[in-house]
């Protein structure tokens, strides 16, 4: 399959070299005592990091979608470190403070399983207090170790994605999978695979145009941007032979939620016999997809852009943030267990 001219770059290098990272792979860093969160809404115009000093500011960057997907996960864990660093009182008060931090983070957005992540940290804090350990030191060690473990498993998954992609594959992706697909594309190039990507633009925030096409291009991958309404066309015309997407929340039965627009892609992939792969974080707290709380965002986010109305008449809008995809549409899940 060679639907579009590809940029075949045979960069056969040592297989032992480190994987080139996308800025979206780990979009949260420490600058001294301050958390630096990559403002994904400004990409591709510039790489700008927002300084986060407090839990309230962390909630705001999540709620305003300055960061999303894996970035949210990093913000949550690092916000606990932020509060631990700022804490001046007793160990018992620290546990209470972290419980309060967890509640604030849990309420930031409804679909991503914030409570599953925060409950891990709060559980560590309570156990350390019960065991009369130094809560602060224990938590810093646990959170950093946990993050290192997640990082390692994500890098392993990048390699797995790369092994899934075969020579002359043409892959459709939707929204953005926080660096992993772009990094896998880089590995494929280094292995001499001739591959191509189609990225949906992903209205209304254009994560596909702004993030996915940008980071794939940055990695030297061949990518073509399409409007969200062209996904059936590229499948029907045989221009794609694999679909790879991310996910925001998984259920016990394998159903998952991902960016709005994922469900039609899954249904179409099945209709056209195209394998559908999803990167997941398994969870058993929600039994099935119908039970996932789907965030409905404000209609103005759909009906205005760049400060101006998109339509010349007064309209109502409906903006569900996520789709649920039943497990029967999944060819294979590529999981990272973060529990």
């Amino acid at each position: 399959m060679k639907p579009f001219p590809t940029m075949r770059k045979k960069m056969r290098r040592s297989k032992n070299r480190s994987i080139k990272e996308s800025p979206l792979f780990w979009p949260v860093h420490w600058k001294g005592d301050v958390l630096s969160v990559l403002d994904e809404t400004l990409i591709p115009r510039r790489l700008n990091y927002i300084k986060v000093h407090t839990t309230a500011e962390a909630v705001k960057v999540i709620r305003d979608m300055k960061t999303r997907a894996f970035g949210q996960f990093l913000v949550v864990l690092n916000t606990f470190l932020l509060e631990i660093n700022r804490h001046k009182g007793s160990e018992q008060n620290l546990v209470k403070k972290l419980e309060k931090t967890a509640r604030a983070l849990n309420n930031s957005r409804p679909t991503f399983p914030f409570a599953e992540v925060t409950s891990i940290v709060v559980g560590w804090a309570r156990k350390a207090a019960d065991d009369q350990l130094n809560v602060r030191e224990s938590l810093i060690k646990n959170i950093n170790g946990y993050l290192q473990g997640i990082r390692f498993r994500r890098l392993e998954r990048v390699k797995k994605i790369a092994s899934l992609i075969k020579n002359r594959d043409s892959i459709l992706t939707h929204c953005n999978v926080s660096g992993e697909l772009a990094m896998a594309a880089r590995i494929c190039q280094e292995e001499g695979k001739d591959i191509h990507f189609f990225a949906t633009e992903t209205r209304p925030y254009f994560q596909g145009s702004k993030l996915t096409a940008w980071e794939l291009g940055r990695m030297g991958a061949s990518v073509t941007l399409i409007a969200d309404n062209a996904v059936a066309s590229v499948m029907a015309d045989g221009l794609v032979n694999k679909v790879i997407v991310g996910s925001d929340r998984s259920c016990a039965n394998g159903d998952f939620a991902n960016k709005i627009g994922t469900y039609p892609i899954a249904v179409l992939a099945k209709e056209f016999g195209i394998p559908f792969y999803v990167l997941t974080q398994p969870s058993n707290t929600i039994p099935r997809g119908e039970d996932i709380p789907i965030e409905i965002r404000q209609e103005k986010e759909l009906l205005t852009f760049n400060g101006r109305a998109t339509l010349p008449f007064k309209a109502r809008g409906f903006y569900p943030g996520f789709d649920v995809v039943p497990h029967e549409f999944i060819t294979e899940s590529l999981p990272i267990d973060v529990r």
Binding site: F4, P44, L225, N229, V231, V267, F318, Y319, D323
Partner: protein, 161 residues
């Protein structure tokens, strides 16, 4: 708006002729959902204006949002504009096939009506590089912007010519 989502949504796809909208008198106002129609939002602009003129306020969806309504079992019918019909199917605006396949999966009727002429098969790739006057993609990105697609007759319930 999720709690207020109507139970019986009619989804409009493509750009319809002006006279088509006269049939909407008597429909509950919240039942008409229109899709944006990237790249130019021509469908939302044209269909929306025609509906507002008839004192019907439509609800706008981005092109990737219709699946949510199907999943929630809120879609009653899909009405799509066609460019030309043949014994084996019809040429419709881009995005029609998505709704056709979703409708088949959910056993929803798909009705086709004559659309406003759309002579171009493709748009220039630059049309998806910006939105509402702002660049949304990185320099050097390539685009593929089909404007029409084929819908096989197996997905179509009835064609009104």
């Amino acid at each position: 708006m999720s709690d207020k989502l109507p139970d019986h949504v009619i989804l409009l796809q493509g750009v319809f002729e002006e006279g088509f909208f006269d049939r909407f008198s008597g429909q509950p106002q919240d039942a008409i959902f229109i899709l944006e129609g990237r790249p130019g939002l021509t469908a939302a602009r044209s269909n929306g204006r025609a509906l507002v003129k008839r004192k019907i306020q439509p609800t706008v969806l981005a092109d990737n949002m219709a699946g949510f309504l199907f999943y929630k079992k809120r879609v009653k019918e899909v009405w799509m504009a066609y460019q030309s019909v043949y014994p084996e199917g019809a040429v419709c605006s881009i995005g029609a096939m998505i709704l056709a396949v979703l409708a088949k999966k959910h056993r929803i009727a798909v009705y086709l009506f004559k659309g406003r002429p759309q002579p171009d098969l493709m748009a220039k790739e630059k049309e998806i590089f910006s939105f509402n006057g702002q660049r949304v993609s990185a320099a050097g990105t390539r685009g593929y912007v089909p404007l029409l697609e084929w819908v096989d007759k197996k997905y179509i319930t009835k064609i009104y010519s």
